[in-house]
């Protein structure tokens, strides 16, 4: 394809992404190297409906003067990346020196918010992603073989986990898995343990979050594979059959290679989305048991005082994390792009 043709074809997408994603990323990266100015604190008396109290406040005029000097804030380099709420390099080296063996060091590490979040995020990503792909693939194969008249309803039902808005969907599921809910009660009956509660233990909470993750994103993998199956060459399949290939061999040697580009795509998207897991943690009120980088950003931006630089630094770390995670898939894609003669 000629360079100029390529340019005009991708131009609309490129403009949109530059304006609404690339520019904000530049500003976020910049923000992450600056902290707020020193705030000049003064003691004041505050009065209200409940009487007066001695308190502190920010001296606006003095702070404004600092602000006008350096409008971006105070340059701090990578200090925010390395502070305790992010990579915590200082705390790690202290823990390494004072640690009493590896398990003790591990405990200190898990006490730091970034590493605690990473522990859950990585477990979640590496369990949910393959399960989603496998489940989605088998659903696609199964749906593809049902009678034509039943296909529509089957597809609709299979898509339900994705269609129903998580806002309400997770509210309902959160209730269902409660110890008094229908699923929670079912689990207690299955485990013959009347005191079993999914929400009370960290391990059960992790399992529930992962189960929900697979359930919620399997329809995505299913739809992609299903539409991919529509273009499988039936001639090749028949030829393979005449050659005596068994059913499994046909799937293995014809269908799976055909779906491979789509699998790469599903894997990329799923790895990325699972690494940024956020919604289920909030919906299931799971933050006592599991956190993620996206949750940390939400926490920084949702508090009464917003921590913009901290959120920016965590966002940059998320992007770096995604880049590392996806690098094997990207290397593969890169090879596919070998220039043609």
């Amino acid at each position: 394809m000629k360079h100029s043709t390529f340019f005009w074809f991708v131009l609309p997408s490129a403009i949109l992404m530059l304006l609404f994603i690339a520019l904000p990323i530049v500003s976020v990266v910049t923000q992450s190297f600056y902290s707020a100015h020193e705030q000049v604190i003064v003691t004041v008396e505050n009065c209200g409906p409940f009487g007066c109290t001695e308190s502190t406040a920010v001296d606006q005029e003095a702070t404004q003067a600092l602000q006008d000097e350096e409008p971006l804030g105070k340059w701090v380099g990578t200090a925010i990346y390395t502070d305790r709420n992010h990579l915590a390099l200082g705390e790690i080296s202290d823990a390494w020196i004072s640690a009493d063996g590896l398990p003790d060091f591990g405990r200190s590490l898990m006490n730091l918010p970034f590493y605690k979040a990473m522990a859950f995020t990585l477990t979640y990503t590496f369990i949910v992603t393959p399960l989603t792909i496998i489940l989605g693939f088998f659903i696609a194969i199964a749906v593809n073989s049902v009678a034509q008249a039943l296909k529509g309803p089957t597809i609709f039902l299979s898509l339900l986990p994705m269609i129903v808005t998580p806002l309400v969907g997770s509210l309902i599921i959160f209730w269902m898995v409660d110890a008094r809910g229908v699923l929670g009660a079912g689990l207690q009956w299955l485990a013959s343990d009347p005191n079993l509660s999914v929400k009370a233990s960290t391990a059960m909470m992790w399992m529930m979050l992962m189960f929900y993750g697979v359930w919620h994103s399997a329809p995505f993998a299913f739809v992609v594979f299903y539409s991919g199956l529509q273009t499988v060459n039936t001639d090749t399949l028949e030829a393979a059959m005449i050659d005596g290939a068994s059913r499994w061999e046909r799937i293995r040697h014809v269908v799976i290679p055909h779906l491979f580009p789509l699998t790469t795509f599903v894997a990329l998207i799923q790895l990325m989305d699972n690494f940024r897991v956020f919604e289920p943690i909030v919906s299931f009120q799971a933050q006592a048991h599991a956190t993620s980088l996206s949750y940390a950003i939400f926490n920084d931006l949702g508090g009464e005082t917003r921590l913009l630089s901290s959120a920016a630094a965590t966002s940059v770390l998320t992007i770096i994390g995604v880049a590392i995670l996806l690098s094997p898939v990207m290397v593969r894609t890169y090879r596919d792009f070998t220039p043609r003669s």
Partner: protein, 415 residues
């Protein structure tokens, strides 16, 4: 804003009247300026906003009440002119607006249009009126009269008595987990610690500075009391926010809990629970902890502010509309029950007794400090580790201090 400017007041009113009960009250004479209110979404604020918009019906008036108000109010007031002419805030959230210098002092407006506003409604910081409060809220004990009669104990006034009563209720097999509380990790859990720590007489910061100081005997005492209470709570307590705690109450699973005054109304009405539950639900006073005698609760107000980056006409229009909306004109049979209103003419309802008792007990207002929000977030992130038995109280308090210090450095409060 072009679209909003073109918004005929008629349509704005049509939308609003259909959703919210209107306070009967005219006599507003606003002929110029612009009103646009951002705030949280619950019935009392909806009533105030509706009354303000009705009052400002002669000019362009709008409101945006949403649970995400804290995420958009700052950006919406930073522009020039600001999108929002007023933000409805609480004593915890006003500091974010004051820190960024987006709200204006109201002294001149009070002198001109607000002579009728009683002094107790004016929030002054360093002598300057920064907001006008209209309602109060606090957490206090809510108990089941019938259950306490059954075990033959008086209404608890301290957390120690709550523990004793809970033990007895459990021992007599009436309820398995008789204590409730909004202990969901995050904001709710941090709020419970703030209450408890103030109850022990603790100070959050070294006076006059942003240096946190909670890793002390009072901090440990507060955490230990919280942990003792959780022994009598539903094992899922770390996922129970105030909605879920209310649901537990209505299901009749809980007999004693520390709950928001604003939540007691729905617990006492006839919907959502059995007769035995709602007719025996009573609002008690605040609880104390240890022998300090302080109420382990914080007092809250909700009030309105006026944006700085707007014209004087807009500020005057907004001030007049909101002053009218938070005057005795707002009060009627329907609005009377929605909150503990601070204006004259409010008649306390039985369900408001808990909040009034908390005020009378001299509980502390929630600290209106520029850096309190940072500490609140750090508390919410770390306390669950202790309650789950993962680490010692001292370690948790040290973690909180470290997390706060890192955040406060980033915000420039600490060097």
């Amino acid at each position: 804003m072009t679209m909003m400017k073109s918004l005929v007041m008629g349509t704005a009113m049509a939308v609003l009247t259909s959703t919210t009960a209107m306070a009967a009250g005219h006599g507003c004479d606003i002929s110029e300026g612009r009103v646009n209110i951002v705030g949280n979404e619950f019935p009392a604020i909806q009533s105030v906003a509706a009354a303000a918009l009705e009052c400002a019906s002669g000019v362009e008036a709008e409101s945006n009440l949403t649970a995400d108000h804290q995420k958009i109010n700052l950006a919406g007031m930073q522009g020039n002119p600001a999108e929002y002419t007023s933000a409805i805030v609480a004593n915890s959230s006003i500091v974010a607006l004051i820190n960024e210098d987006v709200v204006r002092p109201l002294d001149d407006l009070v002198a001109m249009y607000g002579q009728d506003i009683p002094a107790r409604q004016l929030i002054t910081i360093d002598g300057k009126v920064m907001a006008v409060a209209f309602m109060a809220n606090a957490q206090h004990l809510v108990y089941r009269k019938d259950v306490l009669e059954q075990i033959g104990m008086d209404v608890p006034t301290s957390y120690e008595e709550v523990l004793a009563a809970a033990e007895k209720i459990r021992a007599e097999g009436i309820m398995e987990n008789p204590v409730g509380g909004a202990y969901a990790a995050g904001w709710n859990l941090a709020e419970e610690f703030v209450n408890m720590y103030l109850g022990t007489g603790g100070q959050f910061f070294e006076p006059g500075t942003a240096n946190v100081s909670i890793n002390n005997a009072q901090g440990v005492e507060a955490l230990e009391m919280m942990k003792a209470l959780t022994e009598y709570m539903n094992p899922d307590y770390l996922t129970h926010d105030s909605n879920a705690t209310s649901a537990e109450w209505e299901a009749g699973n809980v007999a004693l809990m520390n709950m928001w005054g604003s939540r007691t109304g729905p617990l006492m009405d006839t919907e959502g629970s059995e007769e035995v539950v709602y007719s025996n639900t009573v609002a008690g006073g605040p609880l104390t902890v240890g022998d300090s005698g302080n109420a382990a609760s914080t007092l809250w107000w909700d009030g309105w502010t006026i944006a700085k980056n707007i014209s004087d006409e807009d500020a005057a229009a907004t001030f007049q509309a909101l002053a009218h909306a938070t005057s005795p004109a707002l009060l009627n049979d329907e609005t009377m029950e929605q909150a503990v209103w601070l204006m004259d003419g409010f008649e306390p309802q039985p369900l408001n007794e808990g909040v009034l008792a908390t005020v009378a007990a001299g509980a502390n207002p929630y600290p209106m400090l520029p850096f309190m929000g940072l500490l609140h977030t750090s508390l919410g992130d770390n306390i669950a580790d202790y309650l789950q038995g993962n680490e010692s109280a001292e370690q948790t308090l040290a973690d909180i201090e470290a997390a706060y210090t890192a955040a406060a450095k980033e915000q420039g409060f600490l060097q």
